[in-house]
């Protein structure tokens, strides 16, 4: 059954790439604050004030949490699309199989009639 194999292969490949080895994302803060934050990291690692370190950790936790939700959101999008595509392909393949079987049966009955 070679029905719809090309576009589905393209879809499948795309989904595999995105789900399996998708782009690595960094939980980066907003671009305009990046330099400040990086310098804060340096200072914190070099033994900066504890309040500063706490703020930084809180900011990092927040960014990580937001990134987790983002990953969850996009994961659900790809999952829903993937499940639907697989299901659509299976249904199409099943109907195509039935058509092939019925066509053979019809051709067989034609030969019997002759």
């Amino acid at each position: 059954m070679r029905l719809h194999s090309k576009p589905l292969a393209v879809w499948g490949l795309t989904l595999c790439l995105l789900l399996g080895s998708g782009p690595r994302l960094a939980a980066s803060p907003r671009p305009e604050g990046k330099g400040v934050l990086l310098s804060q990291v340096d200072r914190a690692e070099a033994g900066g004030g504890s309040a500063e370190r706490q703020d930084l950790n809180a900011e990092r936790r927040k960014a990580r949490s937001r990134f987790t939700y983002l990953a969850l959101g996009y994961g659900l999008v790809w999952l829903a699309l993937g499940v639907y595509l697989v299901q659509l392909h299976r249904r199409t393949a099943r109907v195509a199989y039935e058509i092939d079987a019925l066509s053979r049966r019809l051709a067989g009955s034609d030969q019997d009639g002759m």
Partner: protein, 242 residues
């Protein structure tokens, strides 16, 4: 009868949909700037909003197909309505999955009985009712008429969902506010590309789903033909005996 997938321009739409969805995904992650208050989680918006639009479009297709079916009785329009409902249901599901993920981060709750959220859930339930009706009464002519009426009535929920943020007090955002108000140009460009990508995906899936219905119609014709051939000799034999 040969089972053939829709080719030619439809294959081009499939490819364009894959490429543009991938491009929109990358732009949403790497090109669009990070929103000031919500941070990275706002990037869900680039797929959430177009999915909601396609959920609306799905019911518009259902309504158009249903009206045309009731007017002409053609199975082609019935197939269009069914395909619109199924693809619309998919995008409505995506909207309802991505929305709570954003809400959990932005509002601190997964779900709230807000006007926009509630009316969207009703839209999803209408899709479920429509598809269940189709599933339970397969092949029945009356079912096609009932489901066409349900499809037309269900489409009435679309403007209610859309205008719910204006008609009632709601938490759901209408626009994403930046320092200058409205969307940043990079955000707008990403959103427009995502809209186009999801629209292409919608068309691509709709065409595939209509093709499946066409295959099913062909299969039903073959079955009828075989049944006629098998029943006709038996009937003929019976009449000879009598």
């Amino acid at each position: 009868m040969k089972a053939r997938p829709p080719g030619g321009p439809w294959l081009a739409i499939d490819i364009a949909a894959v490429v543009s969805v991938l491009a929109a995904f990358l732009l949403a992650l790497f090109y669009a700037p990070t929103e000031r208050t919500m941070g990275d989680v706002q990037r869900i918006f680039y797929f959430h909003v177009p999915s909601a639009m396609m959920a609306f479009l799905g019911f518009v297709v259902v309504m158009v197909g249903s009206i045309a079916f009731l007017a002409t009785g053609s199975r082609r329009f019935d197939s269009l309505a069914l395909a619109g409902a199924e693809v619309g249901f998919l995008f409505c599901t995506i909207t309802l999955l991505t929305g709570p993920v954003w809400a959990r981060s932005a509002w601190g709750v997964w779900w709230t009985w807000d006007a926009r959220l509630s009316t969207t859930l009703i839209l999803w339930l209408l899709y479920v009712a429509y598809l269940m009706l189709r599933g339970y009464m397969q092949g029945d002519v009356r079912m096609r008429r009932f489901s066409a009426v349900l499809g037309i009535l269900g489409a009435l929920d679309v403007p209610i969902v859309y205008f719910s943020v204006r008609w009632w007090r709601t938490q759901h955002p209408t626009t994403f506010i930046t320092e200058r108000g409205g969307l940043e140009p990079e955000m707008r460009a990403t959103l427009l590309l995502a809209m186009l990508a999801i629209l292409l995906l919608f068309v691509s899936l709709l065409v595939r789903r209509i093709a499946l219905e066409r295959l099913r119609a062909g299969r039903d014709l073959l079955r009828m033909e075989i049944e006629e051939r098998e029943i006709a000799p038996a009937m003929g034999g019976g009449s000879d005996r009598s």
